[in-house]
Subunit: 364 residues, 2 copies
Amino acid sequence: MGGEEITSPNALPMKGGDGPYSYTKNSYCQRDALDNIKEMINEAIAENLDIKHLSPITNTFRIADLGCSVGPNTFTSMHDIMEATELKYQSQGLISKIPEFQVFFNDHTANDFNTLFTSFPPDKQYFAAGVPGSFYIRLFPKASLHFVHSSFALHYLSKLPKEITDINSPAWNKGKISYPSSSKEVVEAYASQFAIDFESFLNARAEELVCGGLMVLIMTGIPDGSSRFQAVNATLDILGYCLMDMAKMGLVSEAKVDSFNFPVYSPFCQEVKELLGRNRCFNIERFELVTRTRDVAVTNAPAVTKHTRAITEEMIKQHFGSEIIDELYDRVFHKLEEFPQFLDAIFKRSTQLFVVLKRQSIMD
Amino acid sequence: MGGEEITSPNALPMKGGDGPYSYTKNSYCQRDALDNIKEMINEAIAENLDIKHLSPITNTFRIADLGCSVGPNTFTSMHDIMEATELKYQSQGLISKIPEFQVFFNDHTANDFNTLFTSFPPDKQYFAAGVPGSFYIRLFPKASLHFVHSSFALHYLSKLPKEITDINSPAWNKGKISYPSSSKEVVEAYASQFAIDFESFLNARAEELVCGGLMVLIMTGIPDGSSRFQAVNATLDILGYCLMDMAKMGLVSEAKVDSFNFPVYSPFCQEVKELLGRNRCFNIERFELVTRTRDVAVTNAPAVTKHTRAITEEMIKQHFGSEIIDELYDRVFHKLEEFPQFLDAIFKRSTQLFVVLKRQSIMD
């Protein structure tokens, strides 16, 4: 409740407002992936949402989107979930029992809720609320939610493992801003933090979901045994290269690059499966690695640069100041043009994990 | 739900952020009044909150603050309500049944929710959510709230009666920005709008409160038979004088003053009593006109000027532009110094209405 909010720099706000580099205008990569996934959510609701035995019987169906950012993807997802749930009531001959819907939009306190609130769809058919705070802790009362959705948010760690910025630690992450090409110790530090966070996430949701309630998680996930260089990691890698180039030219301090790391981690499927297995509160209804089939139109250099900027600019600014921003993303753009294999990597290797969990009736 | 949000200029955002003229830093007049009222809320909960028969039995006690602005008053009020409710459970030997608390902070979409969210007390013992939207429509699911609180918000009308800016109407409010010294037609137009809004408010809350749930309303209220020049009206009156002075000097356009009005109305007690009587969903547990005993320290010219600026600046800016702001409030300050009877009027005539309503079990 109070006091546990994770503060900057670990909170990773998307760029707010609706300017040319805002998340609102540059979240099409997520959107595209969600289009593939809409049908899978519909299936989860049709097959796994047992509305007759949802406990407690309710006149209000409460949905939470955890890590919602500022839209518009969250509005589409919430609309789709609501529609699929209504369809389920209809298909079971329970039209008269269709509840009212209340949707909770959650993200870090640093998220631009003002922008989120002013962009609510005018025809929304639910009662809306914003819930600021880290989803690695409790955000809702016990057994108060019927459906939890989280899309492309769980790769953000609650904090950086502190050893990676400790110059005296074997896990010091010198000259990098992410972990894929770092030492074993750095990778392990990241993986351990992810495990702690994901367990906290599951424990909090186990308390908040009613028995029989569903949770759909869409998260970055890497095929077991393949390279750790994947979508979001590749993006951060390019950014890291450009920062180091600028450090070498004396445009940013190398020490600043050394002390900067993105608290972002993409697990292998096996890691997620193991953590889910350890938590006894949920049945795994579906666990699937989905390949993204993104349009080439959104994987060209200008598009990827804009997208990268939308998701990283705020944090770069906080650490390096705003004066380097334009040059940095200009370099990202040229690097992408120069090494098209980066674009190829982002495009080809794009996978995500789709998980459907049902809250079990008896607590462990 | 969707589409009913009341938009600017009728939404009256308090000045956001935490600068020297922000509402956060200048809401002490409300705070002072609330201090007198805390004890009355405690009494309402002790005497009128029937937790044993609150329907439905709940593990979550949901409180809404309607028109919360950006703090800090709302945090104090919510804390006090929570504490008094816990005390009630304890006094009835129900310590083990004390529920979790969820608090919904509501205000217009134009409210600065980002500031509100970043200023949550770090030790708050409740789950918090922000709910953007006009409280003159439904904001919450049916029977989902146990306690509704609204303090100094119901004098804001949902919109201006349109005839008062209609040059061809007998209710055209020429040369004024409020109604107390206007024609009978103008006053009636304001009063009718208040009646419509207050009824909408009661109807929406009747749906949202559980049976036995309480609603505490603290609102501007004028003793029957006395002058309409009271606290908030007096403040707007001074502002109106200053704007007309500036119009005469050609510093603002007179037509702009003519077309500008604050959607603010302070009812006589009798008006509120009649409207409550017409709505059959609530029992009136308490209805009391309370006299404010404000400290002289907060009713001197600089303090009143700052307070006036905090609650009016945003709307003045929207209509007249920001270039007149400093001069306008400078004039307000000098007017207050020149005519100390204004300060006296604000000080002496300060009353508010304290109303406790209980949601009845059977709908009309």
